[in-house]
Amino acid sequence: MMAAVAQRQGIPPFERFYQAHREEVLAYLRRLLGQRAEDAWQETFLRALRAYDRLEHGRHLRAWVFTIATRVAMDELRVKPRAPLEAEPAVELRRDAFREIEHLTDDLPPTERAAVVLRYAYDLPYDDIAAALGSSEEAARAAASSGVRRLRRSQ
């Protein structure tokens, strides 16, 4: 019992976690869902709160809440995340290059959109993006890559 309490000491009060991430999660969901973002945003934080007392430590909470938000959004879009079929060489973007084509992300398929936005707008590493998409790291990398390629084509 004491050990369990000590182990969980790195977990911030939910209020602080919520204050730290509520804006960026809403902005992210608006990119994925547009007008439907607000309900998904509330659902994201309710799911986080439901799971919060089962957290074992306070690390990676930002990636964790983006994972929840991504799943809520994919549920909303009724999309099963999957890797693109074609095996193409990975494409990476610089952040300033992304800013020039950022406005085009709305037209990407949902999984690619999530992967591209998490990677280039929120700077999440691919293992976190993979967790968010419920896929392998390789598939997450492929989804972002395919998204970038599509953005360049529509530029």
Partner: protein, 183 residues
């Protein structure tokens, strides 16, 4: 592109309605300065003069699902108390303390508005007649000051002795209640 007040309030209300919150808290103004107040589903559990770090303290005792939300009943009764229109509190309390503390705080709760008692007398009232010093410790750690009136406990010679919120606050609360102060 920001979380507006309505969206924020809707989320907080939903979280509480679904019973997902271990403890709610708020910070209110009072004549003795800012007060941090907190409640669980069991009732009022904390009042603190120390607003900084209050939420971390709540995590340690009640769990990490800490959410800020208005505590209207608590605020109203405290406002009435400070206005001088309320002499006893009707709030349900969630006291999570050891047995000895509970005995002492229960006895403390019976000390009437505007009266004072001593550490020794309170020890006797609580059924622990030799524990006057330990009673001092219980007062110092009182989780719900003002409502559990540790400000009404003074030294045997009538001196104010001490108060977790500082002696100025203790004096102010006793004056508000019209208590006669020896010193």
């Amino acid at each position: 592109m920001t979380v507006d007040e309505q969206l924020d309030a809707r989320f907080r209300a939903a979280a509480i309605r679904e019973g997902l919150v271990d403890v709610r808290y708020d910070v209110i103004d009072s004549p003795v300065g800012e007060l941090a107040i907190a409640a669980t589903d069991g009732g009022l559990c904390r009042i603190s003069y120390q607003v900084d770090g209050f939420d971390d303290e709540l995590v340690r005792v009640f769990g990490a699902r800490v959410l800020r939300a208005p505590l209207d009943d608590v605020r109203r009764e405290l406002d009435e108390y400070f206005d001088g229109t309320r002499r006893t509190f009707d709030l349900q309390l969630d006291l999570r303390v050891a047995r000895f503390h509970e005995d002492v705080l229960t006895a403390l709760d019976r000390v009437p508005y505007g009266a004072t008692t001593t550490y020794g007398a309170l020890a006797r009232e609580a059924g622990h007649p030799t524990a006057a010093r330990a009673v001092g410790t219980v007062m110092n750690r009182n989780p719900i000051p003002i409502v559990l009136p540790c400000h009404r406990v003074v030294g045997a010679n009538g001196s104010l002795t001490g108060y977790a919120g500082g002696l100025d606050r203790k004096r102010l609360l006793l004056r508000l209640e019209g208590a006669t102060l020896a010193l």
